[in-house]
Symmetry: C2
Subunit: 256 residues, 2 copies
């Protein structure tokens, strides 16, 4: 942890263009190998894991800032991105004492900047795992996908932010469609079910799932099957994008 | 508008306890005389209308700050309150030129504070109209309920904030129950329908509304009718709070 002072010093000249007190944290979800994954960064000196995030420039809206951060971390543009909650407990930015001591002992007055109170706007993002290229930021030496099982402690209140993002997704599964930004263009019913199961954290009955899902009218069943040969290979589906968008707008059960 | 300088000067000594760049705006809904109403304040010197709002003290979370603001404006505690979006366009705090000139010409350096860029966290609140006591704040001479029809222009981007709150409510009507904090303990089906209609901004078919609403299982039909005498007086209902809470959690159509 020796060099954290140097790091923050190198970063100093950037800080003046950011708004005080405001940060953003992104919970980036991807789906791969039938598993829900979250993009994390590992801090250079403490080796702690964190959500990717950033600050807001003087001429940026939050949305522009979040897109910039996600472009930097994944190489992707036009990510499906949503504000879900602002985290503002006064103590939330308190760092662990070792890190705080190091920052405090720095001679550079701009270290103050890192020690101020931040309220953080939580965004969640749904990205195409296969297209993202995880890239660390200035403070991290690693950027990587982790399954929920692999995630232990995160810095600050980032575990709470991650859990709230998951909770938001879970709730939305009850009335909004999900999957378009996470699955391949063509997918099987078991793949879609697995996505729901990893978000919900529980197993679902295969037949009920299929019946319910088909009743929403957001899927097109294709003539193709997953693999050419096998007799029992599952059918492929794609989203009916017009109905999918409508259901995103009005909910899966229609409007009044 | 002569005296705005004095007003902001008087306010100065307060400002030091607030976080820079962060404000909150509250869209407070009440229901009265079969109409949806919104609580507004009228600025002392410009006579412009605005949403009630405020700033965040150094030791407050956003939720604590919003509750404080709403307590000050309505006298009510424990208001049903929800963050719904952060408004962060860089130009959103630009004031109309007349007001800006007045503030700029002030000799007090703390006027800077009012001219900084604010991102504003939007909360909506559902309150019992009959119990609220509208009270102006330091910058306003009037605090009053307005029907949607009565609202013309609001300061800054407050119209946009109001519209987004309405849009949020409208969407939620498709999958969440609503009414507990807005209606009296006992209400008629036409009253509940009227509440939905004013939020949706359109008329609904009486029989479809009743059928759909009863199917959710969130209402208890009482033996009483609205008025003792009349033969055709409508039955009274109350919310089944256990089911209502469950539907708030999981959506009106249940979970997976």
């Amino acid at each position: 942890m020796q060099n954290i002072r140097t790091v923050t010093q190198n970063f100093d000249f950037h800080t003046h263009q950011f708004l005080n007190h405001i940060s953003l944290d992104c919970v980036v979800f991807g789906f791969h190998d039938n598993q829900l994954k979250v993009l994390l960064i590992r801090m250079k000196y403490t080796k702690e894991w964190a959500l990717p995030g950033g600050f807001v420039k003087e001429d940026e809206s939050l949305e522009v800032a979040a897109n910039r951060v996600l472009k930097d971390r994944t190489g992707l543009d036009n990510i499906f991105l949503k504000q879900f909650k602002v985290f503002s407990e006064p103590q939330r930015s308190d760092r662990n004492p070792a890190v705080k001591d190091l920052i405090d002992s720095g001679s550079n007055p701009d270290h103050e900047w890192f020690n101020q109170r931040f309220i953080s706007i939580g965004f969640y993002a749904l990205v195409d795992f296969s297209k993202a290229e995880p890239t660390p930021d200035f403070f991290s030496d690693l950027c990587a996908w982790k399954t929920l099982d692999e995630i232990n402690t995160l810095i600050l209140d980032h575990s709470q932010i991650l859990n709230k993002a998951l909770e938001t997704l879970r709730l939305q599964l009850n009335y909004q469609p999900l999957g378009y930004n996470l699955l391949a263009d063509k997918f099987t019913m078991p793949e879609l079910q697995k996505l729901y199961e990893t978000i919900l954290g529980k197993e679902l009955d295969r037949r009920n799932f299929q019946r319910k899902m088909l009743s929403y009218g957001i899927l097109n069943k294709l003539q193709e099957r997953k693999t050419g040969g096998a007799h029992k290979a599952p059918y492929l589906y794609e989203f009916n994008l017009e109905n999918y968008q409508k259901a995103l707008q009005n909910g899966l059960f229609g409007g009044w």
